[in-house]
Subunit: 224 residues, 4 copies
């Protein structure tokens, strides 16, 4: 499993994190993570997944996958396909790619079946609890209204983080809990850990800035 | 544009056409296509797209893409991402990955905007006409009940092919019309062309067989 | 068919147009329409459809229906169900309830099969053309960014109306074209007709105001 | 709350349970339930909901509702709309109308907010546990492959019933657990109760048969 505390960087569909830029960004993040001895994982776009995974030792997560079996599934992404590309796991049910209850459950199970991690996103405490009931490896609580914003969830709504941590751990103590939305600075990461989280999930703060190395360095300060 | 008549091979999520096997399959198809001087395009899975595109001169199509702009779009695939990976275009609205009317329209427009082809699938004549009204580069008519089956659409329902050709060309003469579903042999390809189609879209007949080179060779017979 | 020019009032899920209020609203609109001798149709919520249809002579449209056949279809609404409830037709593919290309096509066909009208919404000219290619009874062009706003499409983007009218009539002269989004006053209706539209589709301007009778009266001024 | 053991009859989109037939069916079921002093609830189609609720004292559930707030929501069904129609609650996430994890959660909360019951369907034990984590009033486990079939889940897969009961009660002891799929006879109901279920959810066995009264009578035998 991912060493915690962990920082997961979601590349979304940012132009600064797509195609050749995705590899360059990853190399920069790896340098910083390596120097700091910190646990950092990246989630590049599906099309860039193999390219990035081949270029880095950082664990790579797919941003999404489908629970269908290999076979007829045009436009779908099997867990086997992301495993073959070098992914160590997958995000599921991100606010920008919501999944059905059964689809999430089946995806968690399919990922485990091929030895990959699952990181299920949830928009609130109740949804985090439901996600935990599926026994994924990680749950990330991200209030949708704060995603992409400038105020960190740890400042805007710290209670949602601590409540999600409690809800998840009560139900499934082994499941790691991340928090996300608006996380951009070392103090946000520190606060997340104080609130009981095992790490953070972030995106634009690192994947869509002019100086990603500096941004990650600042975030890693929060891990000390 | 693709030279016609064209044979488009959809790799779907077949294990024989995923990961390293996708590259090997493509190389085999390229050899056969090159020798025969035939126009063949391939549609590998999203995760394998770049890998395959880098390994071949055959035009590569994505199996799906989303019309969102680069930016926040976790788990989505932009036209910019598939272009950067070397795709020449994308399938849209395949029966296994249906899209909304406006999403299909926006995807056709976004693909054109970045200089990529669009191949819109449609399940019947009326849907083919609607697809043609979006002025994509290609429309592929594929009756869903025949997809993955053993009887070619050209045998089971030849009238749907000729009617779709007429419907599309009446409305948008420049749009190429393919047909698909159950196409597996040279005689199916020949019949498709006789019915007015500009080519065929197929999958399991080439991408999920023990001897894909032989299968493609047989299909190419139909082009003579 | 609906006499044109027509004003279609979409009740959406407005509290002022749900439950008993839906019936009261409809009776008020019927009085005004009757006095003015104008063609007005209403689209109440699915749950209120029968109730409203039983209480009025105004033609009632469902806000949505599914193309599935009667049978197993929990939570789905068949064309047979809305017909039995007294609907004369259905909206399809509204910006708030988008449908797949094939689903829209199948719904248009299913509605026609049981003798009901179809009114397919479309967000732009290209989508209107695709909608027209399905040969529904009506197409309503509504730019999504103007829906629910204070500026009428006829003021904000008159060219989209005239272009949609042309695109639809070129392809299918018998299909009526409505326009919508932000339509609230008689002058908006007048302008819509000048631009070639056969009527308007509106919602909040009548269904979510304190004095719907007055609002409709004002709109009907535009028909003169 | 519903008195248990309970039999919930889902009318789906069966022609024998749509329009005027829905009312007649309900009256027949009410007679039988009344005579037997049994707890029976019905879930008519959305369009028939008010009609049926007005005609019966049996508790009525909607087959589906959306968690959107009253307002702009064309084609969507608010909890306020089904409450105004006389529903006592709603099915959610039926295998034929799957919902997202967050949508299910929001719907459960919205229903509770207006004083209505929620009955969340789930296709297996893990999904039942996730559903229970949302604290709905009821969870119904229904293996999708057995739905509409001739063999009762209680015969084909009794362990899924007992395991779902345990999983739900462990997590949320107050949540009632129903089972469904293929349930057609009194012995199926009896077996469901022996396996720990609080009742059954069924459809075709009562709502699509020639003699629904007789069918329900037989089922009620299982409650003794």
């Amino acid at each position: 499993m991912l060493a915690t505390p962990v920082i997961v960087v979601n590349y979304k569909a940012y132009p600064q994190a797509t195609g050749p830029a995705a590899v360059k960004l990853t190399e920069a993040l790896e340098r910083v993570a390596h120097r700091a001895g910190a646990s950092v994982a990246v989630a590049p776009g599906l099309v860039d997944l193999r390219h990035v995974a081949e270029a880095t030792k950082l664990p790579c997560l797919a941003q999404h996958c489908d629970p269908i079996m290999p076979g007829a599934g045009t436009g779908h992404v099997t867990v086997e396909a992301i495993a073959a590309a070098g992914a160590k796991g997958s995000l599921l049910n991100h606010a920008e790619r919501k999944l059905g209850l059964e689809v999430t459950q089946a995806s968690v199970d399919r990922l485990r079946h091929v030895g990959l991690w699952s990181l299920v996103c949830a928009g609130n405490v109740a949804a985090s609890r439901a996600a935990a009931a599926l026994h994924p490896d990680m749950v990330a609580v991200e209030p949708p209204e704060l995603i992409g914003g400038t105020v960190s969830v740890t400042t805007a709504d710290p209670l949602i983080v601590s409540a999600a941590v409690r809800a998840v751990k009560d139900l499934a103590p082994d499941v790691r809990v991340l928090c996300g939305a608006g996380v951009k600075a070392g103090k946000d990461v520190r606060r997340a850990l104080e609130l009981g989280a095992d790490g953070v999930l972030l995106a634009s703060g690192v994947a869509a800035v002019a100086e990603p190395e500096k941004a990650l360095l600042d975030l890693l300060e929060g891990l000390r």
